[in-house]
Amino acid sequence: MAAKIGPMDPPSSASSDSDIIDAQDYSEVFPDQEDQEERSGDFYNTPASPITVPYCPRPPSTGSQKSPKARRQRTTSLNQGTTTQSKPDVIIRTPQRTIYTAGRPPWYNSEGQKVVPFVIGICGGSASGKTTVAENIIECLGVPWVTLLSMDSFYKVLTEKQHEIAENNEYNFDHPDAFDWELLAITLQRLKEGRKVEVPIYNFMTHSRENRTKTMYGANVIIFEGILTFHNLKVTEMLDMKIFVDTDADVRLARRLKRDISQRGRDLDGVIKQYTSMVQPSFNHYIAPLMSHADIIVPRGGENQVAIQLIVQHVHTQLQLRGFKLREELAQAYAMNSGPRPPTVKLLPTTPQIRGLHTFIRNKDTPRDEFIFYSKRLIRLVIEYTLSLMAFKDKCVETPQGVLYHGKRMATTKICGVSILRAGETMEQAVCDVCKDIRIGKILIQTNLQTGEPELYYLRLPKDIKDYKVILMDATVATGAAAMMAIRVLLDHDVAESNILLVSLLMAESGVRSIAYAFPKIQIVTTAIDPEINDKFYVLPGIGNFGDRYFGTEPNDGC
């Protein structure tokens, strides 16, 4: 049974937590078709019969548990659970489409404010086809960033006595009391706020939570499924759309029988005993009445395409209303805006040196070694300037000459750099040259070539980053979409807005204004502000693709 473990990761948000995706995980690993079918079938096996299953292969929740995490935990000797999921679920392949769940698209609007995600609750009896419905919705939505949260993650930890009862097939896992509602409500609430959550991993062997957790992130769409999703009032109130999957009891029993007997080696009597004594009564008593809370009742489950289409249409309308089309809006939003720049925008004094350096860097015929050399000089200047914007306090020191000297020292020693890959990395060296032993975090944001939207792929930040002044580095800022996403990430990690300094070599007027408007407390430092952005979102006159030119990866001789 444990053999099924690998592909059991349900479609999920590839969460963007700091320890999730390593570069090598971009390899396309697909759960193969057979496994996927098996999984859909298996999905509804409520853990009523844990003992016959050596390790319940069903992932207690969806999320982003991936091998790198496990790997990393090994290196830090924290890994206590067995590594059950070895495949990164970066990509979900369905017969029709391939859904990438690695890059996280914007979860905020063009003003940088978080947009409340759309939460869909799916309720239904055991083996009614909830997962199939969820999967079909995800597939038809075409929204790349979806978080799927399962109630199974929230089973209570059993006491020794309860454990024994469970061994005898007599613990009722279909009863509302089997769930930790408090934790569930908090988790869903945080997800809805776009924050990072640690979802417990429930081990059906030991009936306890494993030491590791799954890190999940809020998403544009959150699907929450389980047998009793509408049971708790607090949880129900958070759901924007409530779907009840109503499958005939005979069908459900047939599915359960087939699954438990053929796939789990259990005997007919045991399955029927459990079904009649607990699963069915619980359904009648607790689950069926929840139907009255539902907005939509989907008969026959996943195969009901008409119902799914209706649901998807509604979700699309809702997402549109919430506004997730970012970059284009940003490019236009402040293009017309003139008037004085906000005071948080700090432009380095345009000295002859700086113009001279820009001349080298912007010239398309500058060879790469010169480009790198002069970029570095310019970067050094902008970083030095950035540090002068920090808070300082007076300090009096003794000099070897015997007189006191009234000087200043920086008020904080907690400064860290965060670079936006790839171009921002070019600035790391300068920060290290200027601040001894500084910590450096990284954020990888890539533009989705189809949508033109930025997507978050990777991030790793110093642990207590909320206590730091953060120098956020990107070489160029055009529309500001990537920078804004990075800022949003920092804010989601509880960094105070006033502790962030966004530093870049070149910015476009509209990008500067968008960011300054969205985050009025962030200081923005740059060496030049160019007036325009072209239709490929490059700054004009600009530098071209800074990262490509610096690292020498431009296609055929530059542009």
Partner: protein
């Protein structure tokens, strides 16, 4: 002397002497100066922060060099109105402490020529005299960045300037890059050489004379 007084001094002197430029006073530079002056600073810190301040002074010194307008085409096909520095500059460091600034200059201008002058003060008479000087051959046609971090009396620098002039360098082509100097030294130099420019980070009555020793670790 409070820090406000010092700043005023700097600004005052700048007004009095057009040819004196002080690095724009900001807290960041003040911090660097504080660390360098603090007698409890470790040598590794001292060198680290000295190099940072030197880099800033050198970058600012380069701003004083001549340039011409120049347009370039960017990779996006647009035109950028930039400027180009004229060639024909060189650095001259006064041994020994001036050599601490050579690396900073090299980091900015990879292939710049650097000459050296060794000025020694006589142990008995305290009179400075030039012991050694070596320059690029065509120094008379070049702009010279004269590097010397600490100036308390100005004697050493004036000897060095005399040597440069003997080699045909025009006075208005000499820019002194300096970290700390005293008001007295500013006055002496600018009055003796009416066309020369000084660029420094701070004008303060007490010069941190331990700079060279601490930087090179011979204290």
């Amino acid at each position: 002397m409070g820090s406000a007084d010092i700043d005023m001094n700097g600004a005052e002197y700048c007004k009095e002497f057009r040819r004196l430029k002080v690095l724009p006073a900001n807290d960041q530079i003040k911090e660097l100066q504080t660390i360098l002056r603090d007698k409890n600073t470790t040598r590794s810190d001292f060198k680290f922060y000295a190099d940072r301040l030197i880099r800033l002074v050198i970058e600012e010194s380069l701003n004083q060099l001549p340039f011409t307008e120049c347009n370039v085409i960017t990779p996006t096909g647009a035109t950028y109105n930039g400027l180009k520095y004229k060639s024909g500059n060189c650095g001259v460091s006064i041994v020994r402490s001036g050599e601490s600034m050579e690396q900073g200059l090299r980091d900015c201008c990879r292939s710049i020529r650097i000459g050296k002058i060794l000025v020694e003060s006589d142990a008995d008479t305290h009179e400075a005299r030039v012991v050694y000087a070596r320059f690029p051959e065509d120094i008379d046609r070049r702009h010279v960045l004269l590097m010397y971090p600490i100036m308390s009396t100005g004697n050493t620098v004036s000897k060095a300037v005399n040597v440069l002039k003997e080699h045909g360098v025009k006075e208005d082509c000499i820019i002194l890059s300096n970290l700390f100097c005293t008001p007295q030294a500013v006055q002496t130099i600018l009055e003796s050489y009416p066309k020369m420019k000084i660029l420094t980070s701070e004008v303060h009555p007490v010069a941190p004379n331990h700079f060279g020793q601490k930087y090179f670790g011979t204290d």
